[in-house]
Structure formats: structure tokens, C-alpha cells
């Protein structure tokens, strides 16, 4: 057909019929070509993946969230990094050696020959000192990652000692291998900012396997190989991260061939497991997030512990989680997810609840409250489903409730005293916090000094606070884990918490890809290999 038209076009005058025929065949040809795939195919060895949010901070000392850190992992190096795999552990990255000399001193030695991009030369211990101390010097919102960091002592061109004011175990699990542990060039940052403060979205220098080649807000982040990088060559010439705040959109983009790796929703997991897209591997990872129903201890309606315990026992966590997450998430036993020190095998209150016990507690409380209790929740489908199931379960024992659905801006300031008196009226609240791989990160929100800030239950226990401090400096891992288990027992016994789930983090990717993932399914992008 194409040939006939070509001949007629060449030999005959360009008439209306000829034009229509030609246009029709061109359209037909174009329509039968997989254009979407053809457009992307030009990208060659480019890894394409989605991220839940666009980047908004690329200064490691001022990082805001994990999506920024995913990019930082590519463009900066750090002394140690998380190991890829199913178990939480770390390994050396730019450090040749690192050791805990005593409770408050960590000695490190950098690999020689590691280069910054541009004309900023070799990475030295002076750069490490500058990178670590600036979060505290400039009062970064994430300076708490460094805990009691006092200073970094430079003992040689490549050697130094991290000096703490007191022991701090999360240094090994959060500070060094995560956001604030990334190394920037002292000279480059001072050139760019004068005072060494936040350089925001314009990194003056790169020290990782990739450089930030292009960032188009709300479109993509494009990372290309760093020519100055002397470490192991990364698996892809280019990485393109596309922000998509709707994971379902990412799923469709993957199916259409526009992505090579993506997270998937728990609601889609069963369907993908049964009928996966072509040449696709689906893997499930446990998430570190924790979801719970909290109760405001300072609200008069919840002042009676018997009523709170009646609520705890009336909730069948398994039912709640199955309904909201389509049977793809497991009930939680506490704040700390499986795989982290301090995870509890069982909660004190059975996950199925106990209606008889709930009724006993309710009777001891003098019967159900006269007015319906409020359940505040975010306007996301999983949350509202959980709230509805909890509402039905509480109704079974005679506790009336009313659900208040709120948008994220309104919800996330609900229990804050700085936001007026809304916290006083808050009663039951469905909540979900993100988590880093150290139990201290979970318990730190529930200490007394967080009451009215992020401790919305207004739970205050001197014993809990004491244990929190003790665990930070406890070096024996077994003893530390036991402390965190005890802390979760105390929380549960207060009657202010019903732990629900840690959700889940399923991913899918092309069979030919070899992703490097953290135990919670988060990508470690510079270590992805294979082909796409």
C-alpha cells in the first residue's frame, strides 16, 4: 500500500485524491506504530522510575524527605551506606575504614583519590567535618539526626574522628548512611553560599556516581554519570525519576512501558500477582511506616482508662487491616516494624481483639459515652476505610462514633498546640508516621516533650522518657531491643494506642533489571544494574 502511494505521488500531479490517500496511509502507518515505546526507546540505557513526590531540597544537611535522599544517594557519597537486601545492615562507601573507638568516638579513614566534580579536587576529612557539622551550625530542621554530635576532629588529610557528647547508636543506622551523612565540598559550598548554609536546589558540587543533569519541576529529575566518579561504575548511563503522587498512575505508566521500576499499591498487588505485566518481577517488602489509632488522654470523654481499654479490645485489627489493604498487609504489634531491633512478636492485646473483655471494661467505665466519640482521619481511601471499620466494631460494643475526614494540611496540624485549640476537641485519631531504620526514630515522637507537638495522644510517662534516653546510648543490641519492647508495652498499657499495621511496600520491575533495594523496598539507585 505504501509503495503504490509512493509511486502515484511521484508520477502524478499532487491532487486531492492523491493527498487523501497518502494522508490516510500515513495515518494508518502511524497508528499501527507503538509511538509511546518508540519515543522512549531513544533514551538507550536509561533507567526510568517513579517517585511519590518531586524533589524540593538537595542539600543533605537540610533534607526534607526520602525522595530527596534517593537523589542524594546518586549525587553525593557518604562514609557508609545501607546494604541492599532483606536485612538492615551497612557497608563502607567512601570510607576505607570506620570504627567505634569508644562510646563517644568514631574514627574514620577515607578512601584516597575520591574526587568532587568540577575543580574542587579530592574529598578530604576536612570536607567530612564541614558536611557533618553544618547541620548543627545552621540549625537545620534535621539536625536531630546527629543527636549529640559535638564536632569532627580532623587528624589527617583522609582521617578524622567523630566526637559525640554522649553515646548515640542511631549514628550508625540513620545519621551516617542516610541524608545528613552525605559529603559535600567545603570550598564549593562556601563559594556558593558565603556562610556555608542551605544551598537548596542548586548543588554546587557532586561527589557521587551521578550528577544532576536536569531538573524540570513536576516533570522529571535527570541524572547522568559523573565523569569525576572513581568508584564502581553505576549500571546505567542515565536515571530519570518521574514524580507521580498517584501510585495508580505509576502502575499504568509501567504497563504502558514508560517506567522500568515502580512501587505498586497494595490494592493492585493481588491482581498483579495473578496477572503480571509481561517480563515483570513483582516483589513484596515490608514497610517501616506505622499506623495506629490514638486516643487523646487530655480529652474529658477519654479520661477513664477503662473506656480506652474497651476501645482497644473492641478493635479487631486483622479485620481493619484486611478491609483497608485488601488482605495484603499484616497487623502490627507495635510501632517498630519486623526486622528492626525492638520489634515485638506479640502485642499485649490480641490482634483480633476481645469483645467480652471490651464489654467488661465498658461496664467498668460506667457504660458507653453519652455523646459519639470523634475519629479524625485523613482523606485517603485506606484511612477512611479503616475509620469506618473501627466505627462499626466500636458500635458492636455500644460505643458510638463519628468520623471527621480532613485534608492533609488540616489533618497534620490537628494535635498541635501551636495551631489553636483543635487538639482539645480531638478524641480518637487514625495516624500514620513515616520511619527510618532505627527504633529511636519511632519512640522519639511519644516522649513528654513532644506533647502538643507530635505526641497527639498527650501520653506522658517519666519511665518511657527515661527508657528513651537510655536506649539511645545502649550499646548492647539485645539490651537495646528489650528497652524498645518495654517502651511499646508502656504505650499499650496506657490505653492510648491501638497499633494497626506497618502496611507493605510491593514493587515491580522489568525482569532484565537487577534492582538494589533496602529491606523496606526503597531503591538504592546508583546500585541498580542489568538492562532495560
Amino acid at each position: 500500500m505504501t509503495k503504490t502511494n509512493t509511486v502515484s505521488m511521484a508520477s502524478a500531479p499532487f491532487g486531492r485524491r492523491a493527498f487523501l490517500k497518502g494522508a490516510a496511509s500515513t495515518c494508518l502507518f502511524a497508528a499501527t506504530m507503538p509511538l509511546g515505546s518508540r519515543i522512549w526507546a531513544q533514551s538507550g540505557q536509561t533507567l526510568r522510575l517513579s517517585a511519590y513526590a518531586d524533589i524540593d531540597a538537595l542539600d543533605p544537611a537540610f533534607y526534607q524527605n526520602g525522595y530527596n535522599v534517593d537523589v542524594m544517594n546518586c549525587i553525593y557519597t557518604k562514609l557508609i551506606r545501607y546494604k541492599a537486601g532483606r536485612e538492615w545492615d551497612w557497608e563502607l562507601e567512601s570510607a576505607e575504614e570506620i570504627e567505634q573507638v569508644d562510646d563517644t568516638h568514631i574514627r574514620f579513614k577515607l578512601k584516597q583519590g575520591l574526587q568532587f566534580s568540577g575543580d574542587y579536587g579530592e574529598i578530604t576529612a576536612e570536607d567530612v567535618k564541614f558536611s557533618f557539622e553544618r547541620a548543627i551550625l545552621h540549625d537545620s530542621p534535621v539536625k536531630s539526626d546527629w543527636g549529640p554530635l559535638d564536632h569532627v576532629e580532623v587528624t589527617g588529610r583522609y582521617e578524622g574522628v567523630i566526637v559525640l557528647k554522649e553515646p548515640f547508636q542511631p549514628l550508625w543506622t540513620i545519621a551516617l548512611p542516610y541524608g545528613t551523612g552525605h559529603i559535600v565540598s567545603k570550598k564549593a559550598v562556601l563559594d556558593a553560599t558565603d556562610d556555608g548554609g542551605n544551598f537548596g536546589m542548586t548543588p554546587p558540587v557532586f561527589s557521587g556516581a551521578y550528577v544532576l543533569a536536569e531538573w524540570k519541576s513536576n516533570q522529571y529529575v535527570r541524572l547522568t554519570r559523573n565523569p569525576a566518579w572513581t568508584g564502581p561504575a553505576p549500571g546505567f548511563d542515565e536515571i530519570r525519576i518521574l514524580p507521580m503522587d498517584d501510585t495508580k498512575t505509576a502502575e499504568r505508566a509501567y504497563e504502558a512501558g514508560d517506567l522500568d521500576f515502580t512501587q505498586i499499591t497494595l490494592s493492585s498487588l493481588a491482581q498483579y500477582r495473578q496477572d503480571p505485566p509481561a517480563n515483570t518481577t513483582i516483589e513484596e517488602y515490608p514497610s517501616l511506616y506505622y499506623v495506629w489509632l490514638g486516643m487523646n488522654l487530655d480529652n474529658p470523654a477519654l479520661g477513664d482508662k477503662n473506656l480506652r481499654q474497651a476501645i482497644q479490645y473492641a478493635i479487631n485489627v486483622k479485620q481493619v487491616v484486611d478491609a483497608a489493604y485488601f488482605g495484603e498487609a499484616e497487623p502490627a504489634t507495635g510501632l517498630i516494624a519486623p526486622g528492626l531491633p525492638g520489634h515485638r512478636d506479640h502485642s499485649a492485646i490480641p490482634v483480633e481483639g476481645d469483645l467480652d473483655k471490651a464489654r467488661e471494661f465498658l461496664q467498668a467505665a460506667g457504660g458507653p459515652p453519652s455523646q459519639p466519640l470523634t475519629i479524625d482521619t485523613l482523606n485517603a481511601s485506606e484511612w477512611t476505610t479503616m475509620a469506618q471499620i473501627i466505627q462499626a466494631q466500636l458500635a458492636k460494643v455500644g460505643i458510638p462514633t463519628q468520623i471527621n475526614v480532613q485534608d492533609s494540611g488540616s489533618f497534620w496540624t490537628l494535635g498541635m498546640e501551636s495551631e489553636g485549640d483543635r487538639w482539645k476537641n480531638m478524641q480518637l485519631v487514625l495516624n500514620r508516621f513515616s520511619m527510618l531504620p532505627d527504633p529511636y526514630y519511632a519512640t522519639s515522637w511519644f516522649v513528654s516533650e513532644q506533647v502538643g507537638i507530635w505526641n497527639w495522644e498527650r501520653f506522658s510517662s517519666p519511665e518511657f522518657d527515661k527508657l528513651h534516653q537510655k536506649a539511645l546510648s545502649e550499646i548492647d543490641p539485645d539490651e537495646r531491643a528489650a528497652i524498645y519492647r518495654q517502651m511499646q508495652d508502656i504505650m499499650e498499657q496506657s490505653g492510648a494506642y491501638r497499633f494497626l499495621t506497618h502496611e507493605g511496600s510491593p514493587v515491580m520491575y522489568r525482569d532484565s533489571l537487577e534492582p538494589a533495594l533496602r529491606p523496606d523496598g526503597r531503591p538504592l539507585l546508583p546500585r541498580f544494574s542489568g538492562s532495560v
Binding site: G36, N218, Y220, D258, D407, T413, S418, W445
Partner: protein
């Protein structure tokens, strides 16, 4: 005409001022502190307070509104505290994507809608008219986001003809990325415009000036083009002017579904983050565009219809 245009322009400025003032009031009524949202959970109270001061949120509300308009007069929409970038940069970076999407959607749906409406009116009562009516009402009743989802599933996921996400790079790639979103937004407008043009044409076709034109022996094609369509298309033009606001709303869903950059998606994420400077900057720009579109449609109608022009 000049007096009319000036009057409408001043009214448009007033509308923008009222809209922005109302929006500022609403933003302060809803709970949610922007400084807390920006800095994240680990910020100290001192840092939160510093950020509130830097954003001008410690000032009384009327002062904030006056300062905002004062800055606008100097061409400054403020600074995004999240990224430290100028709000005008962020807004005008996203705006072209939405404008192109809306313009292409309007263009193709208007052309098709007018042709379909004309054809239906000229063949009124035939089975083709009935079919056109069914199709028109059918497309009107399907929401843009449903159309967008199915368009992706059919043309991107199942057939693999078109890209599913993003805005593309370069002319050809961008055009390919525009097809599905513009289809999803524009399809319901085909129905609206077709029904409106058909009804309007049927009314005009019986008007005395059309009968007069026929009695002069003008060809049917010329009568339709010069004497019927010119008047019959006016309600559709008015509809399009006011419809730009609806198209902006539809663009929000479509931008999310196709993971496209755009001002709709920007406003939604900014509202969730309580990012006041961007909300105000983006809404100011979109309000101005909507008001301008309405103004232009009114002026176009005045230009098309001598009776309206004379009445000004």
C-alpha cells in the same frame, strides 16, 4: 466599543482583586500552618516561628493582602519557602503546559463540535441527527477523568500507541504526549458545542433575514456561512469564554492522571502543603486568565453581532 472594552477591563481587575482577597481569607480560615508543613516534623518551634515571620504570616491579614497586591504592582509574586525559588518562575514554568493543553482541547473540540452541530441542524430529524444527538449527550455525560483513565488504558497500556505519562520533549514528542490529555478534556466539549450550535442554528434558520437571503437567491452554503453560522456560533463562543474555568478544573484531574506538569496539579499540591505564596500566585494568574477569556469572548460576540456592537 472602546468605552465598553475599558469598562469591562476595569471590572475584570476588580474581579481579580476580590477573588484574591477572598482566597486569602479562606486560606487563613482553614486549619494548617504552612511553616510546620514546610519544615517537617523535626523543626524546632523557634525555626517554625522564624519561617512564619519570613513568610509574613505574623502580620495582620489585611496587611498581608495589601502587601501581596503591592508586590504584584512591582511584578513580584513572592518566594516559595520550600525551594527558595521565585513564585513567578514556578507558576510561569507550569502555566504553558496547562494553557497549551486547554488551547488544543478547545480548538479540536470547537471545530468538531461546530461541524457536528451544523450538520445536525441542516439534517434535523434524520437518523444522522439522532445519532449525533446521542453521541453528543453521551460525551457530555462522561466525566473528563473517566475518559482520561480509559484513554490511557486503551491507547497507552493495551495498544501502546501513545505515551501514558509526562509532557514530552521537543515538538513531536510533546505533541504525542498531548493527544490523550487533550482528547480527555475536549471530548465532552464536542457534545456541548454541537448541541448548542444545533439549537441555535435551528432558531436562526427561521429568522426573517435568512428568509430574505434565500429570496435573494443566495446559495445555501453562503447563507449558512454568512447569515446563520455567524449568529448561531455566538452562544458557543460565550460558552467557551466561561468554560475556560471548567477546563482549568478538568485539567487538574487530567494532569494528575497523566502525571503532566501544569498549573492545576501545582495548585492542588500547594493547597495540600499550605504553600500560601504559590497558591496565591497561581490562583492570581489563573483568575486573570479566566477573566481575560470571558472578556475576550464577550468582545468576540460583540464583533460578530452588529446588533450587540450597536447596543454598546
Amino acid at each position: 466599543m472602546i468605552y465598553y472594552a475599558t469598562q469591562r477591563f476595569l471590572l475584570s481587575v476588580l474581579i481579580v482583586i476580590v477573588a484574591i482577597s477572598l482566597l486569602t481569607l479562606m486560606l487563613h480560615v482553614v486549619p494548617g500552618d504552612p511553616a510546620t508543613m514546610i519544615l517537617g516534623p523535626r523543626a524546632t518551634p523557634e525555626l517554625i516561628e522564624q519561617t512564619r515571620v519570613a513568610m509574613g504570616l505574623d502580620q495582620p491579614l489585611p496587611v498581608q493582602i495589601v502587601k501581596f497586591f503591592g508586590r504584584i504592582l512591582h511584578g513580584d509574586l513572592g518566594t516559595d519557602v520550600f525551594t527558595g525559588r521565585a513564585v513567578s518562575d514556578i507558576v510561569f514554568e507550569q502555566l504553558p503546559y496547562t494553557l497549551v493543553l486547554i488551547a488544543v482541547s478547545i480548538l479540536w473540540s470547537s471545530v468538531l463540535g461546530i461541524v457536528l452541530g451544523c450538520y445536525s441542524a441542516l439534517r434535523a430529524g434524520t437518523w444522522l441527527d439522532t445519532l449525533s444527538g446521542i453521541l453528543s449527550v453521551g460525551t457530555i455525560s462522561i466525566p473528563a477523568f473517566v475518559m482520561a483513565l480509559y484513554a490511557v488504558l486503551i491507547f497507552a497500556v493495551s495498544l501502546g500507541w501513545l505515551p501514558a505519562i509526562g509532557a514530552g520533549e521537543g515538538f513531536f514528542d510533546s505533541a504525542m504526549h498531548l493527544i490523550l490529555p487533550a482528547f480527555a478534556i475536549g471530548i465532552s466539549w464536542v457534545g456541548y458545542i454541537a448541541r448548542m450550535v444545533r439549537a441555535s442554528m435551528l432558531e436562526v434558520m427561521g429568522a426573517p433575514h435568512v428568509r430574505m437571503a434565500r429570496s435573494f437567491g443566495l446559495t445555501e452554503a453562503r447563507i449558512v456561512r454568512a447569515y446563520i453560522l455567524r449568529i448561531a456560533v455566538q452562544p458557543a463562543v460565550t460558552l467557551l469564554g466561561t468554560g475556560v474555568a471548567h477546563l482549568f478544573s478538568a485539567a487538574v484531574f487530567v494532569e494528575v492522571i497523566f502525571a503532566r506538569p501544569g498549573i492545576g496539579a501545582l495548585i492542588v499540591s500547594s493547597v495540600n502543603e499550605r504553600n500560601y505564596p504559590i497558591i496565591l500566585g497561581a490562583v492570581l494568574v489563573t483568575t486573570a486568565i479566566i477573566v481575560l477569556a470571558t472578556l475576550l469572548s464577550d468582545l468576540t460576540v460583540a464583533l460578530l453581532d452588529p446588533r450587540q456592537r450597536e447596543a454598546l
